[in-house]
Amino acid sequence: MKSNVKSILMAGVGGQGVLRASDILCQVMMESGLDVKKSEVHGMAQRGGCVTSHVRYGQKVHSPLAKKGNVEILLAFEKLETLRYLDYLEPGGIVIINDEQMNPPSVNLGAAAYPDTVVSIVRERFPSVLVVNAPELANRAGNHRTVNTVLLGVLSKYLKIEEKQWEKGIRDSFPPKTLEANIKAFHLGRDA
């Protein structure tokens, strides 16, 4: 059954700022007049664990969770996490991959290998794949912790939301100390 509700799935690793980014996204969407729901799980010392955030928007959103095969855009904050949630994408869905590798514990222990074919696996299955080196852009913005804002900038290219709405969302979310770097990071991502 078709509905007008669309879904974005953000996936990353604890500490990467996935939740902050999805908060900003929702705020921006809400202020653009859309109904939005988002969902995630926190709890158990999440640092180092998987973190996902489902963002669903449209005229009237029921479930805050997307179903598999139904996500329009997958935004992976870490390369390997792209594969873990690939099932959620709809056919022809858009994939944004942050080209950053963070080893899971079993890889650190030498008990498993980090797959080196992530991007090619994704490209074989989905036509629209954008790989971004967000840490490099974040450094260029002057703060290595703005990776999540860079990725929001990349995501913004695919959404019909005005640039000034995004800027407002970012202004409302960061303290003056890091605001300038975040604005810069957003634009570097948007132009990537």
Partner: protein
């Protein structure tokens, strides 16, 4: 707003100014949020039973009291809960139970709707943030109108999802508190309780009648071919999958509106009951003689989503994309520099059986630390260590350790420690004192010296408390110092009788007690012999780099059978030096 924020907001709007609770995922943010509103009194009590009793007292004094806890917290609070159902509330009492289908952050998956039936307390269940805000108000109205405690049930997906909420202005607060005596109602000796027992049944009948016309028990007749009886999050999962089916959405999940259910059943051809976990509605509806489809197609376990609901009803299966490579799992891990890591490394090496408890440190059961061997519930470590050592006798001498966090110890570790001392137990209890309630996000507890609302107060002196309980040997160690930690634990294990070791160092994420920044460490490739001692800590910055596939000029072989080396990611390392202490060849050095 998240569901949790909305619950706090709704309570504030309807004039609630009193709250108590104990942190526990996914309920924690309700009380944290509530505590920020103006004119509110809110506290973290040491455990859920105390929080409940504090709430009962406030209600008895005429206040409107909000009490919050996670699902297993209700187990701790069950004793007062079952009897406040008899006494009624005088003011108003709403208990939020936040359940955790799929055990995202819990030790079990119990369905707390059963408590409503068991304790004869009505229960409401909102389906999104806006309903959460509204239902908490209705819950307080019902509590006042029917003189009953009322449950508001949340689940992780409601508590931690965000949706659009339309806040309203708070109503003016009316002070109705006063001392009023009424022994027949509040002294639950058998003589009085028998009378109240009858009142409870009368109240339940009145509530059953109320449920029939309660507007939040809502029928939506669309396509009459299929009808779904459901509540809470499941309603939205089903609506996302099948917009045009007919629904009976229950806002009150106990007691059920029997006539309304019969009427709905007559209006649709095929009837489903959709609920996560227990067949709570299903059993009651089947007992009415109404045929429904429920647990034969929906799982008893785990959280649902629109895809799961759709496949169960339509009998289809979503296509799965085959992935040609193995995806290594990414479980949560102790943080870099976590003080628990050194302690559990030592415990593993001492080859003791470690009864564990609820906290971040529970994660140390995993490879490679493997330093914890049981976890049942809050406070269980100490009683279990005592029981094991008594049952094992000589065989267990010097081999049983119970480990418990500071917040957990103050929650429910004091009485079992008293028992261990009084009944002449023989186990070493380690209190992992990281100065906060770390796992749920740094909440205050009676050992921190601050209240939930940020006031300074007198912190309990752990050493004095433990001594007063009858433990003669109480030692304090710094878990960053492996040698000293090992020596103290060894001494205490060798000495018969109960003892307590306080492993004391603040959580690395706890900003108030952050120590001076330490220099990150690195591995000197000229010295590393590939022994993997440091790898055995499972610290996130430390990784094994096999020589295989490495450019030959980077391979530095320092030992005969060396097949790789350790590397440390300096951006993650916080320089705790625990790995440095394990390196026998001095290959771990400070970054330049």
């Amino acid at each position: 707003m998240s569901g949790n924020e909305a619950i706090a907001r709704g309570a504030y709007e309807c004039g609630v100014r009193f709250g108590s609770g104990y942190p526990g995922t996914p309920s924690t943010e309700i009380m944290e949020e509530f505590a920020r509103y103006e004119g509110v009194y809110a506290e973290w009590s040491p455990n859920e039973k105390v929080a409940m009793e504090v709430g009962i007292g406030a209600a008895l004094a005429g206040a409107k009291a909000l009490v919050t806890m996670k699902h297993v917290g209700v187990n701790v609070a069950a004793d007062p809960l079952f009897t406040v159902s008899y006494t009624g509330t005088n003011g108003a009492l709403v208990i939020v139970s936040a359940d955790d289908p799929s055990l995202h952050s819990s030790q079990n998956e119990q369905d707390n709707r059963n408590y409503a039936k068991f304790a004869k307390i009505p229960m409401l269940e909102p389906a999104d943030s806006e309903e959460a805000r509204q239902y908490v108000k209705i819950a307080f109205e019902l509590s006042e109108r029917f003189d009953t405690p009322v449950f508001l049930r949340s689940v992780t997906r409601l508590s931690h999802s965000k949706g659009v909420v339309t806040p309203e202005d708070p109503v003016p607060v009316e002070d109705r508190t006063a001392i009023r005596f009424n022994a027949a109602k509040y002294v639950m000796v058998p003589f009085n309780a028998r009378v109240r027992r009858v009142e409870v049944e009368k109240r339940m009948n009145a509530l059953r009648e109320f449920a029939e016309t309660f507007p939040e028990n809502r029928m939506e007749i669309n396509d009459p071919e299929v009808g779904i009886i459901t509540a809470g999050m499941c309603y939205h999962y089903a609506k996302a999958a099948f917009r045009n089916y007919s629904y009976l959405k229950l806002g009150m999940v106990y007691p059920l509106p029997v006539n309304l259910i019969r009427e709905f059943a007559r209006k649709v051809k095929k009837l489903y009951v959709l609920e996560e976990m227990d067949p709570f509605f299903e059993e009651q509806i089947k007992a009415l003689g109404i045929p429904v489809i429920g647990k034969e197609i929906f799982s008893y376990t785990g959280e649902f989503d629109p895809g799961i609901v759709e496949s169960a009803i339509s009998g289809t299966r979503p296509e799965s994309l085959s992935c040609p490579v193995e995806i290594p799992p990414r479980p949560p891990n102790l943080c870099p520099g976590c003080p628990h890591r050194g302690l559990f490394h030592v415990l593993n090496r001492l080859k003791t059986f470690v009864t564990g408890d609820i906290g971040c440190y529970t994660l140390s059961f995993m490879k490679p630390l493997e330093g914890l061997h049981s976890c049942i519930c809050m406070g269980a470590s100490i009683g279990m260590a005592h029981g094991m050592s008594k049952a094992l006798g000589e065989k267990g001498r010097g081999k049983i350790v119970g480990v418990i966090g500071d917040s957990t110890f103050l929650h429910s570790g004091i009485t079992p420690l008293l028992n261990l001392a009084y009944n002449k137990g023989d186990a070493v209890i380690v209190i992992c004192d990281n100065r906060t309630t770390a796992m749920t996000g740094m909440q205050e507890h009676p050992g921190t010296g601050y209240t939930l609302q940020g006031e300074k107060t007198k912190p309990v002196d752990l050493k004095e408390l433990i001594t007063a309980l009858g433990i003669d040997s109480v030692r304090v160690v710094d878990p960053y110092d492996l040698k000293a930690t090992r020596a103290v634990l060894k001494e205490e294990l060798d000495r018969p009788g109960p003892s307590v070791v306080i492993s004391q160092r603040a959580c690395v994420l706890f900003k108030r007690e952050t120590q001076a920044a330490r220099k990150p460490l690195r591995v000197d490739p000229d010295k590393c012999i590939g022994c993997r001692n440091c790898i055995g800590l499972g610290c996130p910055p430390i990784a094994w780099r096999p020589f295989e596939g490495m450019p030959p000029e980077q391979v530095k072989k320092n030992a005969k059978k060396q097949d790789g080396m350790a590397v440390i990611d300096g951006t993650l390392c916080n320089g705790c030096t625990v790995c440095q202490q394990l390196c026998k060849v001095g290959a771990i050095v400070e970054e330049d």
